[in-house]
Amino acid sequence: MTIDDGKIITDEEIDILQEIMNIAFGTAAAELAEVINIFVELSVPYIRLIPADELPEYIRQEIHDVSMISMVEQNFWGKFKGSAFLIFPADAGRVFISLFEEGVASEDEGADSMDILAKETLIEVGNILIGACVGKVSELLGDNVTYSPPSVVLGNHPNDEIPQGLFDPANSAIVLRTVFCFQERDVSGFLFLVTSHESVQWIRESLATFMAQYE
């Protein structure tokens, strides 16, 4: 991707962002591992910048059965501003329940309460992973962000579809494809950050500042 081609970020900037995302997700995984008994197997992160309205199609290509996913959304504000989307298999919430020491429900409590607990658990995992990851990116780039409460925008119901209007076509999606695997539970997921063109410009300037300390 180059500016000369009419695109908005250079290959070198993508490489720097990839390394920053790598550091950020490592931090996020460690924070999650401190809260729940889990080991996150990290993969080599993959970064792409695409128009946000192409994201549903991208997700469909990456995740073969999109009718069976859960998606947690959390917005963040600062110079680095946008929305983070964390995508898991639809049953991930139930899998995560057993990892939390407190608030564990049994199947005896009924399907409704299990659904609520699964959703709350998914939100909590999303809150930790997104907060730590976005927080570390903004810290490394010299920003400080605030967050909205996370919410489950999709999930737990088969045949849910990714709403086409979920992603503003005026925005860019930083696709961080870290396929993280919760080793003991065989659950893997994706993280996508969707940000505005304005934020992408700020990111480019901040990446240059970040790398200046390593010249």
Partner: protein, 123 residues
């Protein structure tokens, strides 16, 4: 004194960051590898005094490369430089025999301290 340093990391940016943290007043012979497999081969040929090893890499990850390097030379000084700061990951590589852990992003201070540790150990 450390003269030869091998840096094994799939990210060229990460390798550049680490190199820039090495003290400018000292001269080093530096070799680089982009994955664990190349890193192991380069270790055997280059015989570095110190190796910086990333963990998450394609082809062969840093854990496997660490094992193979220590199988080849049990006294190898391999410093794991990683973004994976989960306690289990750190304990695992220390148990295997990593000399030290440096959390990413590296800083001049951290790298200097690491070099001092290795130099002190080498007498």
């Amino acid at each position: 004194m450390i003269r030869k340093i091998l840096i094994v990391d799939d990210s060229p940016i990460s390798r550049k960051m680490l190199k820039s943290c090495l003290p400018k007043e000292r001269e080093f012979e530096i070799a680089e590898a982009g994955d664990g497999m190349v890193g192991v081969e380069m270790f055997k040929q280059f015989e570095p005094d110190l190796t910086f090893m990333d963990l998450t890499m394609p082809v062969m990850d840093g854990v496997q490369a660490l094992v193979e390097i220590l199988n080849f030379n049990v006294d190898a000084k391999v410093v794991v430089c990683t973004a994976d700061v989960q306690i289990k990951s750190i304990n695992r590589v220390l148990e295997i025999g990593a000399y030290h852990i440096v959390k990413k992003p590296p800083t001049r201070e951290n790298i200097n301290k690491t070099l001092e540790m290795v130099d002190d150990d080498n007498g």
